[in-house]
């Protein structure tokens, strides 16, 4: 009775110990392999390099009074909406005049190094710097403090430059935090959904931060503080915007309002701001939401 299936019990025990040892060794190896290696460096981020086109300045003289030709409207070209993915291969509506597929004479345009510019050098560039990471440009660093970084995303009122010294009691230093704190999203003030499924203020603030980065406010426009387009946004569960409808589009007859609404729409559609970082488990809460773009106090 000391043997099982012809094998001594001792042998069986040895086998068990041996297997255990193998497993432990393997685990140890894997663990060592995974964690003892140096942490891989961050993968480089692909950036877009953008140069600002230099200024042209032609020198020919004698322009007779510009007998400006009254412009005629070029017919609107309907573009197929991207969303509904037209099942039928409907040809894009033909454009009226321009005969798009005109076989242009091959334009002699290799990546030309902007040579044909006889005129003088660009004027001292004190321009607002572009947001992109730029290659070191030959232009000297702007003499002016271009948009100070700290002002980049504060209230637009403060974005307007003022060289006058502000008194310490001036309210302008406060609004950023005040607005963020004093205006929690409406949802959090109406505890309808069970606690925990609601979006917290910090979660909605995260979304706002994302959208701030994509919204070019209509700075310097007249009555900018009244340009407050509002939208209902329909979201996909992956955080991308499916559709957005303007709720006060009747005000678009004012070209300033229309421009503001379009700039807001561009913020919602900007691929740089998508997907929006909503918590996925609370999709119910954010699958549709309303948003007002309100550049307060510009002016």
């Amino acid at each position: 009775m000391t043997e099982i299936g012809g094998m001594p019990r001792r042998v069986f025990a040895y086998s068990a110990v041996f297997h255990l040892a193998v497993v432990l060794t393997l685990y140890g190896l894997i663990h060592w392999h995974l964690f003892s290696r140096p942490i891989p460096e961050e993968t480089p981020i692909v950036v877009q390099l953008i140069n600002v086109a230099p200024e042209t300045r032609a020198t020919q003289v004698t322009r007779t009074p510009p007998k400006p030709d009254k412009p005629e409207d070029v017919a609107q070209v309907e573009t197929p909406k991207p969303k509904p993915e037209p099942p039928k291969p409907e040809p894009p509506p033909p454009s009226p005049k321009p005969e798009p597929p005109k076989p242009e004479p091959p334009k002699p345009e290799p990546p030309k190094p902007e040579a044909p510019k006889p005129p003088p050098p660009p004027p001292q560039e004190a321009k607002a710097e572009t947001p992109k990471p730029e290659p070191p440009k030959p232009t000297p660093p702007p003499a002016k403090p271009a948009p100070p970084k700290k002002n980049d995303d504060v209230l637009s009122d403060q974005m307007l430059r003022n060289l006058a010294k502000r008194s310490p009691t001036h309210p302008t230093d406060e609004p950023p935090q005040k607005i963020a704190a004093a205006q929690p999203s409406k949802s959090s003030s109406q505890p309808v959904a069970p606690l925990g499924s609601q979006l917290t203020t910090s979660e909605t603030d995260l979304i706002k931060q994302q959208l701030y980065a994509c919204w070019n406010i209509p700075l310097g426009a007249r009555d900018a503080k009244n340009l407050t387009p509002e939208f209902r946004v329909f979201m996909n569960s992956d955080g991308t915007v499916r559709d957005a409808q303007q709720l006060n589009s009747e005000r678009n007859s004012d070209p300033f309002f229309q421009a503001a609404a379009e700039s807001a729409m561009r913020a919602l559609r900007n691929p740089r701001c998508q997907p929006l970082k909503f918590p996925p488990q609370k999709y119910e809460q954010w699958q549709t939401f309303t948003i007002t773009f309100d550049p307060k106090d510009v002016s």
């Binding site: 877009q48 007998k67 412009p71 002016k144 950023p176 310097g220 119910e284 007002t292």
Partner: protein, 443 residues
């Protein structure tokens, strides 16, 4: 078993109710902040038909430079374009433009007609919304108007994106200066807003000062010391004719047109007392508007013609005032430290630009017409004489550097700055420059 299914049904309906309640409490966000960043715009070279390919490229570049200078657009380097034939495609391949981060796209083409005239057509596209925002055709027009057409296209793009009229198809008249400080030669000169098409209007034999555009475009008023006496002249840009507007006793300063072009407002120093007068250009009748022992100068109409801004030292130091066009209801509007001068009422009507001297420094600033909301935009050893672009978004002025002990230096240049105060640029002129005046939009 049946108890279990009842429970399940109950749970399901509760969940349904809950989700309905959740749906009712729709999330709302208020976005109160944003970025000051120019809009990335792609402007591929317009398509040309063989002979005019170069002109098509030139039009594209002039327009692109206009938009870039405004500070509201950043044209994307053409070398980054994925669709190299992008200008010819209608509609464009939007994906190719989204990839390079363009938010707007301008396409267009230039056609040469049989008689040598050109026709230019453009379309502005919203790349993210994938739709055409606007499009116009210009011409047929003589080929030498290609620059004007390029500026008009830039104006149309600017207007559609910002809601505001453009200011690119405009001209600048200013005083061109050469020579040493004690024998300065000053000539009246005119150029396009971007510095092109520069020409001199006077030969420099007589000292000229303070040119101003007429709202009717073809005329400029200015002050000339021909024969040693300061007189207000009218200059017709097209015919080159000069006309003496009036031979006024004593000194005259800073004449400016009324918005309807029918009157000129200026200050006259009679018997040592400087007051504001208007002159009816048709009847040549002179009307006194202010009557005060203090020095009243630099009058300027509001765009509706109902009010006049001016400066005066009637309160003890030089400050800005407004009054009705008939001289009633005089109100002081500047109350900051220092002295204020050269008020210029915005064509938009909302703001008054001024020069301020405080603590030995000069500033260019703006305030609302009631004096509130003063903001100083730029500061230097000497900056002076702000003039508005016709859309009220950009100011031009001149800046003079200090001279050294030997009287060297002191060069004087034109600059523009936009209302945000960030986008300040030099306007290139062949010689030193001062006292710019911006024309209205050309018709």
């Amino acid at each position: 078993m049946s108890r279990f299914s009842v429970l399940r049904a109950f749970a399901a309906s509760a969940a349904l109710l809950l989700s309905a309640a959740v749906a009712h409490a729709e999330l709302h966000l208020d976005l109160t902040r944003g970025k000051i960043e120019p809009l990335p715009i792609a402007i591929p070279d317009f398509a040309g038909d063989g002979n005019n390919a170069q002109m098509a490229r030139d039009i594209t570049q002039v327009m692109s430079a206009d938009l870039e200078r405004s500070g509201l657009f950043v044209p994307i380097d053409q070398r980054a374009y994925v669709d190299k034939e992008g200008a010819t495609r209608t509609p464009p391949r939007f994906g190719d433009w989204r990839v390079i981060n363009a938010q707007a796209l301008v396409t267009g083409l230039v056609e040469t007609k049989g008689d040598g005239t050109i026709r230019v057509e453009f379309r502005l596209w919203d790349v993210l919304a994938e739709q055409q925002l606007t499009g116009f055709g210009y011409g047929p027009a003589p080929q030498n108007l290609w620059r004007a057409i390029a500026h008009k296209i830039a104006d149309a793009v600017y207007k559609r994106i910002t809601g505001e009229d453009g200011y690119f198809d405009t001209r600048i008249v200013y005083i061109s200066e050469t020579g040493p400080a004690d024998r300065r030669v000053k000539r009246l000169a005119i150029m396009d807003q971007d510095g092109a098409n520069h020409r001199f209007l006077t030969d420099g034999r007589a000292l000229v000062l303070t040119p101003r555009f007429s709202p009717t475009l073809q005329e400029i008023t200015y002050l000339s010391y021909a024969r040693g006496v300061p007189r207000v002249y009218l200059f017709n840009i097209e015919t080159g004719q000069q006309e003496v507007l009036g031979d006024f006793p004593g000194m005259t300063f800073a004449p400016r047109f009324s918005p309807d072009g029918k009157k000129v407002v200026m200050s006259l120093a009679i018997d040592g007392n400087s007051d504001i007068y208007t002159l009816d250009l048709r009847t040549r009748q002179l009307t006194r508007i202010t009557d005060n022992p203090a020095i009243d100068t630099s009058p300027c109409y509001s765009p509706d013609g109902r009010q006049i801004a001016f400066n005066s030292d009637r309160g003890g130091s030089q400050q800005l005032y407004t009054m009705n066009a008939d001289g009633s209801d005089v109100k002081r509007i500047s109350f900051g430290s220092g002295r204020y001068g050269t008020p210029a009422w915005s064509p938009r009507g909302d703001l008054i630009a001024f020069t301020k001297i405080d603590g030995g420094q000069f500033y260019i600033g703006v305030m609302r017409a009631d004096g509130s909301g003063e903001r100083l935009l730029t500061q230097a050893f000497l900056v002076e004489a702000p003039t508005w672009a016709p859309n009220g978004r950009v100011l031009m002025y001149f800046r003079q550097a200090p001279t050294d002990a030997k009287g060297k230096g002191g060069s004087s240049r034109l600059y523009t700055i936009d209302l945000t105060g960030y986008n300040e640029r030099e306007v290139i002129t062949p010689q030193d420059a001062s006292d710019p005046a911006w024309s209205p939009l050309l018709p």
